[in-house]
Amino acid sequence: MKRRNFLKTAFLGTIAGTVGLRAPRLMAGNASAEAAEANPAALPDIVAVMGGEPVDLYTRAIAEMGGMKQYVKPGMKVVIKPNIGWDKTPEYAANTNPDLIAAIVRDCRAAGAAEVKVFDHTCDQWKGCYENSGIQDAVKEAGGEVVMAHEERYFREVSLPMGVRMKKAKIHEAIVDCDVWINVPVLKNHGGAKMTICMKNYLGIVWDRRYMHSNDLQQCIADAATYEKRPVLNIVDAYRIMTQNGPKGRTTDDVQTPKAIFMSKDIVALDTAATQFFNQYKTMTINDASHIVLAEKHRLGTTNLSSLNIKRIRL
């Protein structure tokens, strides 16, 4: 009897220990499950809000999504990943809106986040991007921290077992080390990938974007999105969107101002919805931006929006 008890305890202890050690990693994926448990009246799959200023749009949308506390627990290390790819000011819509990013940082702080880091592996020279996008100042003021991502030493290799063309990638250490991360792209057209929304935003957490461009860009984007630590929330900034000459853009002529925001945990569904939204300005399908379809094949989400609970709100 004694021996059996001992073995039993040891066995259970091992399991508990393993789960315990892996807890932060599991939490990233499990946050949604916990939320559903906590709130039996199921939250919507997609929330879309239109007709307001960035902060108002965000405040309403996150409330509909159950509040930031659903996703960020006290003491967590949080990363927010906007698009800060270009040395452009906010009115060019080349980067995510700084007011929106500031609002998210504040909200994460209020939810008890131990730290909130913000970064992007920029295309233009990083300092110009961080400064002129307005994001560096906005984040600092909101109580977050802007971290650098312009050198390879900030990135760590991870394996992508589900990847088809990209089996491993160097991912920014802030993402690798965080408890949860929130993906906050801006909605733009793209000369190569056709659309740049949530999944295309992964190019900014990966070091070697040339590898992705030269090994079937669309497949590599879908492969990158298979990285085990998924964003707990995807937020598409469509306050200003870029409908031509994207993703860098040239003048404010490239910009439309629909004043909208979309949120979802399902990255494929949100990219699909945003593409259909974009299609109202310029013809575009998810078959053109085929990484969205390829990601569905990876079972990262669904492109079938009719199966989802979508909440559409006009302010």
Binding site: Q125, K127, G191, H213, S214, N215, K248, L305
Partner: protein, 502 residues
């Protein structure tokens, strides 16, 4: 005595502050190199001379006036190479034995120094400034700081170092060794024998208002002052002060036990001195002939080089690398740039590198542009902001955005979209003027890059990011920067939409 102590310490503090700020700028301040650091580069003598039409006149006038009033204070308090030599010399003083510390009066190398000055003057007057790349003290210091200091610091901090250039490193290392040894064992020998700025200012400081003077009635000819002189220009046995070599360090004053050495107003004595020298001796005659021949040699060497350059300059120039924005053309860059490498240090995208063969033999070490590590920032003018000589001409940002450094050339056979049949568009993504755009092509459902050369500004964004090997799109550099056509107008009607579309 108290006054001299204060003066001497003022000199030391100012000198250390100047060299610290300049070194900091050259080594650390990539991407935030403006303000006081850039300002310190603008008060250097040779950059002032070369940029005489672009604000340098003020610098030159101020330095000449300062020299006329107080002697060669530029050499002791503003010139980073001069300050560096003082520091080396002082460190060596601590290491050396008491006996070895002693210096002594030595004759000036007038033949060499006036020969070099004549040579450089002829070259500069006729617009051939390349010798200054090798002789100007400020730019030599810049070359050392950038090509030795930056890699060293990068190595220590583990940061990546992008603008490595073997020839520039070799040059900097060789000169560093040379000047350090020279300063340790011969004091200000470089400044008083080779440096054309030192020689020129020396001519002025001979008649400066305040000078080091030895009071004959007080002097005991103990030679102590001469033993402390790092310019080797003071001889108290015959009471000789060579003011052309004195950099007013004031060391001699402190060494004198009888207070015979002073730094005082000297213009009232001028007449007496002039009279004394009127009798020509045989020695003087020989000296004069020697000087004249040295000057002649310098002038003719200068003329020869200038003519050679003019003759060669007529051939059509082809460059292997681009020029930084604002250089205008290769000839202008060669005429204005002394390769201080401030732009190399300041470029946040690390695209400016010292050239070794790309710009021809007279382009050795001049700044050249290549796109392995980055591309020219559309909104960036850092190189123009820091350039002290006006070689990289300051212009409005609007003008800079239309300054054509080269032109992109696309090779379809190398392109990912053509080779693999998959989407890419990296070049189009990076193009700030949409000179590269993704266009449909017959027989494919993919979009291919298409270049509009007239609009291209050669910033290198496309070349830098192109993932194909060999690159499918490269910038062909131009020896002459032109104005690109304004980007095509691309107006879009602003639309209000009703629904979400999903």
């Amino acid at each position: 005595m108290k006054l001299y102590t204060i003066l001497k310490w003022t000199r030391r503090v100012l000198a250390v502050a100047v060299i610290a700020l300049i070194t900091y700028f050259f080594i650390f301040s990539s991407a935030n190199a403006t303000g006081i650091w850039a300002a310190l580069l603008k008060v250097q003598f040779i950059p002032g001379v070369l940029g005489i039409t672009t604000g340098g006149a003020l610098t030159v006038t101020v330095i000449l006036l300062l020299t006329l009033l107080f002697g060669r204070v530029y050499c002791s308090m503003l010139c980073p190479l001069g300050i560096y030599q003082d520091i080396v010399n002082r460190i060596a003083w601590f290491i050396k034995s008491r006996q070895k510390r002693r210096t002594h009066y030595s004759k000036p190398n007038d033949g060499i120094r006036y020969g070099i000055l004549a040579f450089v003057t002829v070259c500069v007057v006729f617009g051939f400034t390349y010798p200054l790349v090798w002789l100007d003290p400020y730019s030599l210091f810049g070359k050392m700081a950038v090509n030795l200091g930056r890699p060293l610091v990068a190595g220590i901090t583990g940061a990546e170092y992008y603008t490595w250039s073997w020839p520039a490193f070799a040059f900097a290392a060789a000169f560093f060794t040379f000047i350090t040894l020279l300063a340790a064992f011969r004091g200000r020998y470089y400044c008083n024998t080779i440096c054309p700025v030192g020689t020129l200012l020396g001519l002025v400081s001979k008649i400066s208002m305040f000078r080091i003077q030895v009071n004959e009635s007080e002097c005991r000819h103990c030679l102590l002052c001469g033993k402390s002189c790092k310019s080797y220009c003071l001889d108290s046995s015959g009471i000789k002060v060579d003011h052309s070599r004195c950099v007013v360090c004031l060391n001699c004053i402190g060494s004198c036990n009888t207070k015979a050495v002073t730094y005082a107003f000297a213009w009232k004595k001028k007449v007496a001195i002039a009279r004394k020298k009127e009798e020509p001796t045989a020695e003087n005659k020989g000296r004069r002939a020697f000087l004249i021949s040295a000057l002649g040699a310098g002038v003719s060497a200068g003329a020869g080089v200038v003519l050679l350059n003019r003759f060669k300059g007529k051939a059509r120039v082809k460059v292997g690398a681009g020029l930084p924005p604002g250089a205008g053309n290769l000839e202008r860059l060669q005429d204005k740039c002394i390769a201080c490498h401030a732009c190399v240090a300041a470029c946040p995208s690390h695209i400016i590198k010292p050239a070794y063969g790309e710009l021809g033999w007279q382009g050795f070490l001049l700044p050249s542009v290549s796109y392995e590590n980055g591309f020219c920032g559309f909104e960036c003018q850092k190189c123009q902001e820091v350039c002290p000589s006006g070689a990289l001409q300051r212009m409005s940002l609007e003008d800079k955005k239309l300054t054509k450094l080269g032109v992109a050339r696309f090779t379809l056979e190398n392109c990912i979209v053509y080779k693999d049949g998959t989407d890419c568009g990296a070049c189009d993504e990076h193009c700030p003027v949409k000179a590269v755009a993704m266009m449909p092509r017959e027989g494919s459902d993919k979009l291919f890059p298409k270049v509009t050369p007239k609009v291209c500004i050669g910033c290198g964004g496309c070349e830098y990011i192109c993932p194909a090997r060999p690159k499918a799109i490269v910038v062909i550099p131009m020896a002459e920067q032109r104005r690109a056509d304004a980007p095509l107008i691309d107006v879009q009607i602003k639309v209000d939409i009703e629904g979400f579309g999903f």
